[in-house]
């Protein structure tokens, strides 16, 4: 059965270096997939490929059964394929309220309008407020993003993604760089994601992966080496080798 999001045999090489080889993934509505793997396994490259920042050499990407492989990144977002960034990309001079309002307006096709006020529509304002509230950002809604805590910035990234009403959400290390004390907040936000949304998460924090994911895919050197339940990951010899091997390599290099 086809899922809402399906990647078939995706490959990409930079010169002679293959960074993705024959990657296939299927996600159904409500899927909670974690994509893990040692550093340099090609996880972020994978996100860049499926969201259209990079062009794959071969393979197809289907979104709701529609082939989006040839579409640009903006069109994919508009069809419901939305990502967050590993390193926060926010406008430091703007407030969270402005970020989310801009995103909602964009989704409604009104962000390019000249003859309307930015904060004018009560329906938009209501949606923005409930989104910020859901992620616990209401208190800092009117502060410049440059002044709020990093954990809150990560939450804002998620709020922006949700404001686009995605069908598939790709979270690139949502907890990266967040102090330990703030991770529960991120976890909470992840638990509250709409149940029907298909979510793919890249994450290093294994606790978070085990709590969040119902399905795990392990990537090493651009290839899928394991696919299965979270409980089976640790026992898999290939996975152990990939992780330990990379540590062994790292020691050799050091």
């Amino acid at each position: 059965m086809n899922g809402v999001f399906q990647v078939d045999n995706l490959s990409k090489a930079f010169g002679g270096l293959t960074v993705s080889r024959d990657i296939s993934i299927t996600m159904k509505e409500g899927a909670r997939l974690a994509l893990i793997g040692p550093n340099g396994a090609g996880k972020t490259t994978f996100v860049n490929l499926v969201t259209g920042q990079l062009r794959p050499d071969s393979g197809t990407i289907l979104l709701g059964g529609e082939n989006v492989t040839r579409l640009g990144s903006v069109r994919r977002v508009r069809k419901g394929l939305v990502r967050t960034f590993q390193v926060t990309r926010l406008f430091s001079d703007m407030t969270p309220e402005e970020h989310v309002t801009l995103t909602v307006l964009q989704r409604e096709g009104r962000a390019s309008r000249i003859l309307s006020r930015f904060f004018n529509d009560s329906a938009v304002a209501g949606e923005v407020e409930s989104l910020l509230d859901a992620l616990g950002l209401l208190e800092v809604a009117r502060r410049k993003v440059g002044e709020i805590a990093y954990g809150q910035q990560r939450l804002l990234e998620i709020a922006i993604a949700l404001a686009l009403k995605p069908r598939v959400l790709l979270l690139d290390e949502p907890a990266a760089g967040v102090p330990q004390s703030e991770t529960p907040r991120i976890e909470q936000a992840l638990e509250r994601l709409p149940p029907s949304l298909a979510v793919l998460m890249i994450e290093h924090d294994m606790d978070l992966v085990f709590r969040f994911a119902r399905h795990v895919v392990v990537l090493a050197a651009g290839e899928i080496i394991f696919e299965g339940l979270p409980a089976e990951v640790a026992a898999n010899s290939k996975v152990r080798e990939a992780y330990l091997g990379s540590y062994a390599n790292a020691r050799q290099h050091a």
Partner: protein, 335 residues
């Protein structure tokens, strides 16, 4: 658990009002300054009208540089397009001043469309160089097409009809000045609305991080092009005003030098506020009037020193300096 930095607890967000008040005060101040100029310098109204025309150019440049983050050294193309379009229309018998302004605005917008289309293809240094090449190309073209533009002698002999059929463009330039002032205020208010609109916000976002904007599902280039067209519209009004008030259009109105000067004015005043464009133009023109009367080369040295000083001491421009001095928290007051 300390998750959230302490702030005033607001459960529901109140309406924004402070910025609007601030802008009303700003617009009133510009109008008042303009009226004061009318009474204080009755003998220098021609100079003040030129100041307004250049302020429109600087405002137009601020839209592109300050709100979209595109560095350009060829913005006089848009100004010159407006000036020549109005001038040529006037010589060919279209003498109604408001129509001429409209013609200038439309020509400027057209030039903005062309310039934006070419410039947005490149990035960074290549973009800057394209802007220069475009202004030089138009300069040469205007020089060559002397049958229409008067070439290096300039397009002279513009006889503009009375405004509303009543107010003649008199020798002292009263009508031209007041027309210019009204245009400036109207344009300024219009631009304040535009930069506060969703589109204005989107452009600010593009300036900071186009990749983020794309990830939000918005296209970058079409919106930048739109801003170029708006910018051209404003610069075109400035060009037409200059043409009407001086009744001459010279090659200098479509030159690299004018483009560079406009950038200097904008940077002196501070980019990305709209106020900075006007403040910078006043400072620049004021100094120029005083110093170049003594020796034009001293003037160049001084502009040079001013520029270096701005880069070193006040990267936010003069208005940014005021903001820093006046708000203790050190927040920039951006609209």
């Amino acid at each position: 658990m300390q998750l959230v930095a302490r702030t005033n607890p607001v459960k529901t967000l109140p309406a924004t009002g402070g910025q609007v008040l601030r802008d009303v005060v700003g617009v009133v101040a510009i109008a008042a300054l303009g009226v004061a100029g009318y009474f204080l310098f009755p003998d220098n109204l021609a100079l003040l009208t030129r100041l307004i025309a250049l302020a429109l150019l600087a405002l137009s440049l601020d839209l592109v540089v300050g709100y979209c983050g595109i560095a350009t050294l060829g913005h006089a193309v848009l100004f010159g397009a407006g000036a020549y379009a109005a001038g040529i229309a006037c010589v060919n018998g279209m003498t109604e001043p408001l129509t001429l302004i409209a013609i200038g605005a439309i020509a400027g917008a057209g030039a903005g469309l062309v310039m934006g289309t070419i410039m947005l293809r490149a990035h960074g240094l290549a973009q800057l160089v394209l802007s220069i090449a475009i202004v030089q190309l138009f300069h040469e073209a205007a020089n060559k097409a002397s049958a229409y533009t008067g070439g290096s002698d300039g397009l002279a002999g513009l006889s503009v009809g009375p405004l509303f059929g009543v107010f003649e463009f008199d020798l002292w330039g009263r009508t031209a000045y007041l027309l210019g002032l009204v245009l400036l205020v109207v344009v300024f208010i219009g631009l304040k609305f535009i930069v506060a609109s969703p589109f204005g916000m989107l452009c600010r976002g593009i300036k900071e991080d186009p990749i983020r904007i794309r990830a939000m599902g918005a296209f970058v280039a079409p919106n930048l092009l739109k801003m170029f067209v708006i910018s051209g519209f404003v610069a075109g009004i400035g060009g037409a005003l200059a043409a009407i008030s001086t009744q001459v259009v010279g090659l200098d109105s479509i030159s690299f030098e004018l483009s560079a000067n406009a950038l200097v004015m904008l940077v002196l005043g501070g980019i990305g506020t709209l106020y900075g464009a006007i403040v910078g133009t006043i400072i620049f023109m004021g100094f120029e009037h005083i110093v170049s009367a003594i020796n034009p080369f001293h003037w160049m040295t001084m502009v040079g020193v001013l520029l270096i000083a701005v880069v070193i001491a006040a990267p936010q421009g003069v208005s940014g300096l005021f903001d820093r001095l006046w708000s203790p928290a050190g927040r920039g007051g951006r609209s």
